[in-house]
C-alpha cells in the first residue's frame, strides 16, 4: 500500500492543447486527483456575435485544427436549421464523406501518433522511423488516405473550404472519386494490420461505471444530426442539447464541465459504440471481436479500441458513399439559402464525441447569440472522476510512481481530449 504520492504532470504531451494532471495521496488517502485545462481561453462564442451566416462555419472551423470539418458541419447545420434549409441528398453524402475523412485522420492520428507510443514504450512515433519503419509507414499511409479523402471532398483537410451553407460548393470529378475509392479500398489491408497491432497491446484493465452520451442512430451508425441518447436512458431531440449537457464553470479551469444523470458522463467513440453497436458494419463488428471490445464497455482505456473499430466502420461507409456518387448521376449540391430570424442547433459526432453548435439569427442572417458545447468539455468531469478512481485503486495497490504517472497520462490520452476546442 502506498502512503504518499505527489504526481504533477503539467502540460501533458501527446494531446491537443494544454492540460495538467495532479494526483496527491497522503497517508494512503487520495487527497486530490485533478485534471485541469490550462489552455488560453478564446471566446469564439463572443466573436461569433454579429457575424454573418456565411462567416460562422469558416470562423468556427478555426476552433480546432483537428476536427475543423466537424465544427464547420455542426455550424452549417445550426445555420441551416435556423433558416429551415434542407440540403440536397448528394450534398449530404459529400458532407458525410468529408466527415469520414476527418474521423479517419483524427483517429489515426490519435491511435498511432498519440496513444501507440505508450504501448510501445516510446516517447513518440518518430523513433519508429528507425526502429520499426514498417509501423511508421503504416501510420503514414493510413493518415495519407484519410487526409486525401478530406482534401478531395472538403477542399482541404484542415479548415475546409467547400462546405458551405446550403450544401457543398464543388463536387470532385468522377475520375478523382474513382482514384480515391481505389486508394481507400487498398487501405483495407493496412487497417487489418492496424487491428492486429492493437490486438497485441495490453490495454489496462480498469472499469468505472459511466453514463455514455451520443447521437442515436436510426438505420445507420450516427454521425450528423438526429436524436440524442444516454446509456442511462435519457433521450432528447437535437434542440434539447442543453438538457443533455448542463455546462458549468469550475474554478482554475478555462474549459467548462458537464453533467447529466450522474456527476459526470462520457462522449466519444466508446459512447457511440456502446449506444449504437447494433448498427455497425459486419467488418467493424468483427474487428471489435478481434479487439475484445463488447458492449457495454466501461473501461475508458477501450476508447482507443472503439476508435479503431470506427475506422473500419467509416472506411466501409466511405466506400459505399463513393460508390453511390460514382454510379449515380450527380444531382444538385447546393440548396438556396435565405436568412430568416430563428434559432438552430447542429449536433455532429466529431472524433472525440458529440459536438453542438447553436445560433440565434436576426432576420438579415447575422448572429445574435452563439453557443458551442464541445466533446472534451463533456468529458472533463468524467476524466476527473476516472483519475480519482484510478489513483484510489492503483495507489492503494502500491504501484510505482512512474507507472502510475504513465497510467494517469494514458487515461487522459485515451479520451483524446482536444483542449483548443474545449476553450473555444
Amino acid at each position: 500500500m502506498k502512503l504518499n504520492l505527489d504526481l504533477n504532470v503539467s502540460h501533458l504531451t501527446r494531446i491537443e492543447g494544454h492540460g495538467s494532471i495532479r494526483v496527491r495521496v497522503v497517508e494512503g488517502e487520495v487527497r486530490e486527483a485533478r485534471w485541469d485545462v490550462v489552455e488560453s481561453p478564446r471566446f469564439f462564442e463572443a466573436m461569433l456575435k454579429g457575424k454573418g451566416y456565411r462567416t460562422a462555419g469558416i470562423l468556427t472551423a478555426r476552433i480546432c485544427g483537428i476536427c475543423s470539418i466537424g465544427h464547420c458541419l455542426a455550424s452549417l447545420r445550426a445555420t441551416e436549421q435556423a433558416f429551415g434549409v434542407t440540403i440536397p441528398p448528394t450534398a449530404a453524402s459529400l458532407r458525410l464523406l468529408a466527415k469520414h475523412g476527418e474521423t479517419l485522420q483524427s483517429h489515426w492520428l490519435h491511435l498511432f501518433f498519440l496513444a501507440a507510443p505508450d504501448f510501445l514504450a516510446l516517447p513518440s512515433v518518430i523513433p519508429l522511423l528507425e526502429s520499426r519503419p514498417e509501423l511508421f509507414h503504416l501510420a503514414r499511409r493510413l493518415r495519407g488516405v484519410a487526409n486525401r479523402l478530406s482534401d478531395l471532398i472538403a477542399g482541404r483537410s484542415t479548415h475546409p473550404v467547400s462546405l458551405q451553407p446550403g450544401g457543398v460548393a464543388v463536387i470532385p470529378s468522377r475520375e478523382k472519386l474513382l482514384i480515391l475509392g481505389d486508394e481507400l479500398h487498398r487501405s483495407l489491408e493496412d487497417i487489418s494490420a492496424a487491428v492486429e497491432l492493437f490486438a497485441s497491446f495490453r490495454i489496462p484493465d480498469f472499469i468505472r461505471e459511466t453514463e455514455y452520451v451520443s447521437l442515436k442512430g436510426e438505420a445507420t451508425y450516427p454521425w450528423i444530426g438526429g436524436r440524442l441518447l444516454s446509456s442511462d436512458g435519457v433521450e432528447g431531440a437535437e434542440e434539447e442539447y442543453l438538457r443533455m449537457t448542463n455546462e458549468y464553470v469550475v474554478p482554475s479551469n478555462s474549459s467548462k464541465w458537464c453533467r447529466l444523470s450522474r456527476p459526470s458522463f462520457a462522449v466519444g467513440a466508446l459512447a457511440r459504440f456502446n449506444n449504437n453497436f447494433r448498427l455497425l458494419h459486419p467488418e467493424a463488428l468483427q474487428a471489435a471481436e478481434r479487439l475484445a471490445l463488447s458492449p457495454p464497455c466501461h473501461n475508458p482505456f477501450m476508447n482507443n479500441v472503439a476508435q479503431l473499430v470506427e475506422c473500419v466502420q467509416v472506411t466501409h461507409e466511405a466506400l459505399r458513399l463513393l460508390d453511390e456518387l460514382i454510379t449515380d448521376p450527380q444531382g444538385e449540391i447546393m440548396a438556396p439559402v435565405t436568412p430568416r430570424a430563428g434559432v438552430g442547433v447542429g449536433a455532429v459526432e466529431v472524433p472525440r464525441g458529440i459536438l453542438y453548435h447553436c445560433y440565434e439569427y436576426d432576420a438579415q442572417g447575422y448572429i445574435l447569440r452563439a453557443d458551442c458545447v464541445i466533446p472534451t468539455t463533456q468529458n472533463n468531469a468524467n476524466i476527473h472522476l476516472d483519475l480519482s478512481a484510478l489513483a484510489r485503486r492503483y495507489a492503494v495497490e502500491g504501484m510505482s510512481d512512474e507507472h502510475l504517472e504513465l497510467l494517469c497520462s494514458m487515461l487522459v490520452r485515451a479520451y483524446d481530449p482536444c483542449l483548443s476546442c474545449s476553450v473555444h
Binding site: G17, L59, G65, I66, S124, L129, R140, R141, R143, V161
Partner: protein, 250 residues
C-alpha cells in the same frame, strides 16, 4: 545531400504553441509522402502535440498561435532568449489570426458572457511579432506544408527564402478556376499573397486573406471594386479583419 561539397546540417527544431487551434502544428505531421524525409532532415527536440520527448537546446523555434495571456508572454520571451531563429508559424502567430476578432469586444462583457462570474484572464490578442522579434513569418490558416518544407530547407542551407510577390489571383487563373466575383461572391484574392495555389477559390469559396497582403496590394481600388459589386461595408470589413493581416476600408 552532400551537394557542392556542402554537408547539410540537421537543425534542432522545437515547436511551441500558444493561443490557436494547433492546426498549423498538425500540418507538420501531414504531407505523408515526404513525412519520413522531413523528419530525417531535421531533429525535432520539442513537439508536445505528438511527442513526450524534450531534449535540451534548439536552433529553430516554430511558434504557433497568438499571444493572449501573461504566462504566454513569459514563455515566449524565454523561447526567444534560447533560440537562434524564431519562426512565426501560421496566421495566428503572424497576425493574431481569428483570435484578433475579440479585440474589438469589451473584455468584461465578453468574459461574463462565456464564463459567467468565474472570469478568465485574457489580454488583447497580439501576434508573436508584437511581443518579440521574429526572424521569419510563415502565414497561412493553416500553413501549407509544402511551403513549410521549402522554408525549412532554406533554413538548413542558410539562404534567404522569398514568398511569391503576386496575389492569389494569378494562381487562381492558372488553376482554371472561375473568378469568385463572377459568381457574385466576395474574394480577397486580389490583395492577398499568393502561394497557396488559390485553394479556397478552387474549392468554391472566396479568399479570406489568410496569407496576409501581397507585395503591392492596391487597397483603394479593391475597396472600390467590392463596393461597386454590391458588397456592404460590413461584409467587406468582416472579411478584411478576419485573419488580422489586412487593412480595412477607411
Amino acid at each position: 545531400m552532400n551537394y557542392l561539397g556542402i554537408e547539410p546540417v540537421r537543425p534542432r527544431v522545437a515547436l511551441f504553441s500558444f493561443t490557436g487551434c494547433e492546426g498549423c502544428q498538425l500540418q507538420l505531421a501531414n504531407h505523408e509522402e515526404s513525412l519520413a524525409e522531413f523528419l530525417a532532415a531535421i531533429r525535432i527536440v520539442r513537439f508536445r502535440e505528438i511527442s513526450s520527448s524534450e531534449q535540451g537546446e534548439y536552433d529553430i523555434a516554430l511558434v504557433e498561435g497568438a499571444i493572449t495571456r501573461n504566462d504566454e508572454v513569459e514563455r515566449l520571451l524565454a523561447i526567444r532568449a534560447q533560440t537562434k531563429v524564431l519562426v512565426a508559424l501560421g496566421s495566428c502567430a503572424c497576425y493574431g489570426g481569428v483570435n484578433r476578432l475579440k479585440n474589438s469586444l469589451d473584455p468584461a462583457v465578453m468574459n461574463r458572457e462565456v464564463y459567467g462570474d468565474l472570469s478568465q484572464e485574457s489580454l488583447p490578442t497580439r501576434s508573436v511579432g508584437e511581443v518579440v522579434t521574429v526572424d521569419l513569418e510563415i502565414p497561412g490558416c493553416p500553413v501549407s506544408k509544402p511551403e513549410v518544407e521549402r522554408i525549412i530547407q532554406h533554413l538548413i542551407w542558410g539562404i534567404p527564402y522569398s514568398f511569391p510577390a503576386y496575389p492569389v489571383c494569378l494562381e487562381c487563373k492558372q488553376s482554371f478556376t472561375l473568378c469568385r466575383f463572377q459568381q457574385g461572391e466576395l474574394c480577397l484574392g486580389p490583395l492577398t499573397r499568393g502561394g497557396c495555389r488559390a485553394i479556397c477559390p478552387a474549392g468554391g469559396l472566396g479568399c479570406w486573406g489568410c496569407r496576409g497582403p501581397a507585395a503591392d496590394p492596391n487597397y483603394p481600388e479593391f475597396f472600390a471594386i467590392a463596393r461597386q459589386q454590391g458588397f456592404s461595408e460590413r461584409e467587406i470589413n468582416e472579411r478584411l479583419t478576419f485573419f488580422g493581416g489586412l487593412e480595412v476600408t477607411p
